[in-house]
C-alpha cells in the first residue's frame, strides 16, 4: 500500500468515526423523539422519530464500517496522524489555504454587516488580491473597485437586494 493510500485510510478512520458518532447521536435523538411526551397522541408509524432512527442508524453503521476499513487500511491511524499533521502544517499549499480561509472568515464574520457593504467588499477583495499577489497595486484597486460597483449595481439596484 502506498503512502497516499495509507494516509487516506487514516483520514477514513477518523472521518468514519465522526460519521458513526453523528449517526449514533441522530439515532438516539430519534428514539427520544419517538418517546417524546408531546407526540403521544401521534400514531406510532407517523412519528418523526421513525425516519430519524432509520437514517441515524444507517449513518452510524456506514460510519462504523468506514472507520473499520480505515483502521485496517492504515494499521496505525494514530501514529500515522501524528506523523502526517506536522508534515501537512509545513506545506505552503496548506498555509495558503489557511490564509484564504481566514480571509473569508474575516469578511463573513467581522466585516459583513458591521461596515457598509461597498467598503467591506472592497477591503476584502483588495486584501485578498494583495495577499495572493494578483498584480500591481493599482490594478488590484481598479479590479476591486469595478467588481464592487458591478455587484452593487446588479444585486443592490437591479435585483433590489437590501445590501448591508
Amino acid at each position: 500500500m502506498d503512502e497516499s493510500t495509507r494516509r487516506l485510510r487514516t483520514l477514513d478512520f477518523f472521518m468514519g468515526t465522526v460519521f458513526a458518532a453523528i449517526g449514533f447521536y441522530v439515532a438516539i435523538e430519534g428514539y427520544n423523539i419517538f418517546v417524546a411526551p408531546e407526540l403521544v397522541t401521534v400514531e406510532r408509524m407517523t412519528n418523526p422519530g421513525v425516519t430519524t432512527i432509520f437514517i441515524g442508524a444507517l449513518l452510524a453503521l456506514l460510519g462504523l464500517v468506514m472507520a473499520i476499513i480505515g483502521f485496517i487500511g492504515s494499521r496505525t491511524p494514530f501514529r500515522n496522524a501524528k506523523q502526517a499533521i506536522p508534515e501537512t502544517l509545513r506545506k505552503p499549499a496548506f498555509l495558503k489555504g489557511i490564509i484564504a480561509m481566514a480571509g473569508i472568515a474575516v469578511y463573513f464574520f467581522v466585516l459583513w454587516g458591521r461596515i457598509p457593504y461597498v467598503i467591506s467588499t472592497f477591503i476584502f477583495l483588495a486584501g485578498m488580491m494583495f495577499i495572493f499577489k494578483a498584480g500591481a497595486w493599482w490594478k488590484i484597486f481598479i479590479i476591486s473597485g469595478i467588481t464592487v460597483a458591478i455587484v452593487w449595481y446588479v444585486f443592490g439596484e437591479l435585483a433590489m437586494v437590501p445590501l448591508p
Binding site: 421513525v50 473569508i104 494578483a134 479590479i143 455587484v151 435585483a159
Partner: protein
C-alpha cells in the same frame, strides 16, 4: 389540454423578453462553465438569488439557459487550456486539448460545439417524449414507491460517483438525508434538531448550503495552488459539417448513454461523459488515437454530457427527483418559484414540460452561435489569475446566499458548508449524493411514514407491490454487488468447477 392550447401556452413564454433572458443566461452559463473553478451547479445556485424578483417561469427559463450554457462552456477551457471548466468536460480534455495544441483549436471547438448541440437536442427530444410517459407511470406510485425511489437514488448516486469507495458515496448521501431532517416535521409539526433556534425551524436552506459546499472548497483549492495556464492558439480553419456527421453512430450511442445516465438520480454529466468515452474507445476501430486528439473521442464525451441535461430533467419534472447535481439545485429553485415538480406538475402546469423544452431549444440555438464567437475573447479571460478570480467568487458566494432571504445566517451557513465541502474533498467523499440526500430527504422521510401508516405498520407493503418489489430487489442487488458478494460467489463456483474437473 389540447395541442392548440399547449402551443398557445408555449408561445406565451417565448416572448422577446424570455428569449433575451435565455440568451443572457446561456452567455453567462458559457462563461461560468468555461472558467475553471466555477461549476454549473454553483452558477445555478448563485443566479437563483438574482431570479428571486422574476416571475416563476422567467426564472426557470433563465436557469435552464444557464444549465445548457454551463455544460457546453466547460468544453471551451477543456480544449483551450486543458483544464475542464466543469467536471462534465473532464473527458473532453483528453482529445480536445491535444487537437488544439496541434494547431487545430478552431476545429476542436467546432467539433465539441456541434457534439454539444447534437447531445442537447437529443436530450431535449427524449425529455419531450419520456417525461409525460414517466409522469403517467408515476401517478400509480404510492408512498412506498416514492420512499424506495428516494433511497435507491441516494444509494445509486453514491455507488456511481464514489471515486474511492462506494461506501463513501453512501455516507455522503446519508449525511445529506440527515441534514434534511433539520426543521419542522411536515406531518406532525414537531421541531427536529432545531435546538430552539427560530432560524432552524424551516430547515437548512438548500441554496446557501450548495453555494458553500461547492464554492468555498474551490476558492481555497484554487488559491492554494496557483498554476500557470497554457492557452492554445486558435487557427482560422473551417470544419466541414460532414466531418462531424460521419461520427453519427458515436453521437447517437453517446446520446443514449447520456440520457440513460441522466435519468438515474443524482449521477450527472461527468459520469455520462466518462462512460460514453470509455464505450466509444472500446468500440472504436482506432482506439490508439484516443487521448491524442481523436475527433471521435471528443464527439463521444461532448454528446454524452450534453444529452445528460435532458435526461437529468426527465425524472426531475416527472418524479420530482433530480438526475444530476445541477438538476438538484434547479429543483430548489423551482420550489422557491412555486413550481413543484413531480407527477402532479402535469395537472398544475399542463404545458410546463413543453415550455421547458422550448426554453432549452432556444438556449441550444444561442449556444450554437455564442460558443465559437466566445472562443477568441475566452483566450484572454482564461488567463485571469486565480488570485483575481477567486476573491470575486467568494463575494458572489456571500451575496448569492444572502440575497435569497436577506438573512445573515445564510452567510454563516455558506462558511460552514464550505468547511464540510473541504473535508469531503480531502476524504474523497463525492458531493453529488449529499446534494441528492438533502433534496430527497423530505420525500424519503414523509413517504416512509405514510407507507407504514397506510399498511398499519406492516413492512410487507415494500415487497408486495410490483414496482416496490423491483426497487427493493434493485437496492439489495446494488448493495450486495458493492460488498463483493457476487464476485465471491462467482469465484467459489469457479473453484468448485475446477476441483470437480
Amino acid at each position: 389540454m389540447s395541442f392548440e392550447q399547449i402551443v398557445l401556452e408555449v408561445l406565451k413564454t417565448l416572448t422577446l423578453e424570455f428569449i433575451l433572458l435565455i440568451a443572457a443566461a446561456t452567455f453567462i452559463g458559457l462563461i461560468i462553465g468555461a472558467l475553471p473553478g466555477l461549476t454549473t451547479t454553483m452558477g445555478i445556485a448563485l443566479l437563483t438569488g438574482i431570479t428571486f424578483k422574476f416571475s416563476g417561469h422567467a426564472a426557470i427559463a433563465l436557469l435552464l439557459g444557464l444549465y445548457v450554457g454551463g455544460v457546453s462552456g466547460g468544453s471551451l477551457s477543456a480544449v483551450m487550456i486543458g483544464i475542464p471548466g466543469t467536471a462534465a468536460n473532464a473527458a473532453s480534455v483528453l482529445d480536445g486539448f491535444p487537437l488544439a495544441m496541434a494547431g487545430k483549436g478552431a476545429k476542436a471547438i467546432t467539433v465539441s460545439r456541434s457534439a454539444s448541440i447534437m447531445g442537447t437536442l437529443f436530450g431535449i427530444l427524449c425529455l419531450a417524449f419520456f417525461t409525460p410517459i414517466l409522469s403517467d407511470l408515476a401517478l400509480k406510485f404510492t408512498s412506498a414507491e416514492f420512499f424506495l425511489i428516494g433511497l435507491f437514488g441516494v444509494l445509486i448516486s453514491g455507488t456511481m460517483t464514489g471515486a474511492d469507495l462506494p461506501m463513501k458515496g453512501w455516507i455522503s448521501g446519508f449525511v445529506g438525508l440527515t441534514i434534511a431532517l433539520i426543521g419542522i416535521d411536515e406531518l406532525t409539526a414537531y421541531h427536529r434538531f432545531t435546538f430552539d433556534s427560530p432560524q432552524l425551524t424551516s430547515g437548512l436552506p438548500f441554496i446557501p448550503i450548495m453555494i458553500g459546499f461547492f464554492g468555498i472548497p474551490q476558492v481555497i483549492e484554487s488559491l492554494s495552488s496557483e498554476q500557470d495556464v497554457l492557452v492554445a492558439k486558435l487557427d482560422r480553419a473551417k470544419t466541414k459539417l460532414s466531418e462531424i456527421l460521419q461520427h453519427w453512430k458515436v453521437a447517437l450511442r453517446s446520446g443514449l448513454i447520456g440520457v440513460g445516465i441522466g435519468v438515474i438520480p443524482g449521477i450527472g454529466e461527468d459520469v455520462a461523459a466518462w462512460v460514453s468515452y470509455g464505450v466509444a474507445k472500446k468500440a472504436s476501430k482506432h482506439p490508439e488515437e484516443y487521448g491524442k486528439g481523436s475527433i471521435e473521442g471528443l464527439v463521444a464525451a461532448e454528446t454524452a454530457d450534453n444529452s445528460c441535461i435532458g435526461g437529468a430533467i426527465i425524472p426531475l419534472l416527472s418524479l420530482g427527483i433530480p438526475g444530476s447535481p445541477p438538476a438538484a439545485v434547479l429543483l430548489g429553485a423551482f420550489l422557491i418559484h412555486g413550481v413543484r415538480p413531480g407527477p402532479m406538475l402535469s395537472f398544475e402546469f399542463p404545458a410546463f414540460v413543453y415550455q421547458a423544452v422550448s426554453w432549452l431549444l432556444v438556449a441550444t440555438l444561442f449556444m450554437r452561435f455564442m460558443a465559437l464567437w466566445l472562443a477568441r475573447p475566452m483566450q484572454k479571460i482564461l488567463t485571469i489569475k486565480n488570485a483575481v478570480l477567486m476573491p470575486i467568487v467568494t463575494v458572489l458566494c456571500a451575496i448569492g446566499a444572502y440575497s435569497l432571504d436577506i438573512r445573515y445566517i445564510d452567510i454563516v451557513l455558506v462558511f460552514f458548508a464550505g468547511i464540510l465541502g473541504i473535508l469531503f474533498r480531502k476524504g474523497k467523499y463525492p458531493p453529488a449524493p449529499l446534494v441528492l440526500g438533502i433534496v430527497l430527504g423530505p420525500l424519503v422521510d414523509v413517504n416512509l411514514r405514510r407507507a407504514l401508516k397506510a399498511s398499519n405498520g406492516d413492512i410487507s407493503i415494500f415487497f408486495t407491490r410490483p414496482i416496490a418489489l423491483v426497487l427493493v430487489v434493485s437496492i439489495i442487488v446494488l448493495i450486495l454487488a458493492q460488498l463483493g458478494v457476487f464476485e465471491a460467489i462467482t469465484s467459489k463456483f469457479r473453484r468448485m468447477r475446477q476441483s470437480t474437473i
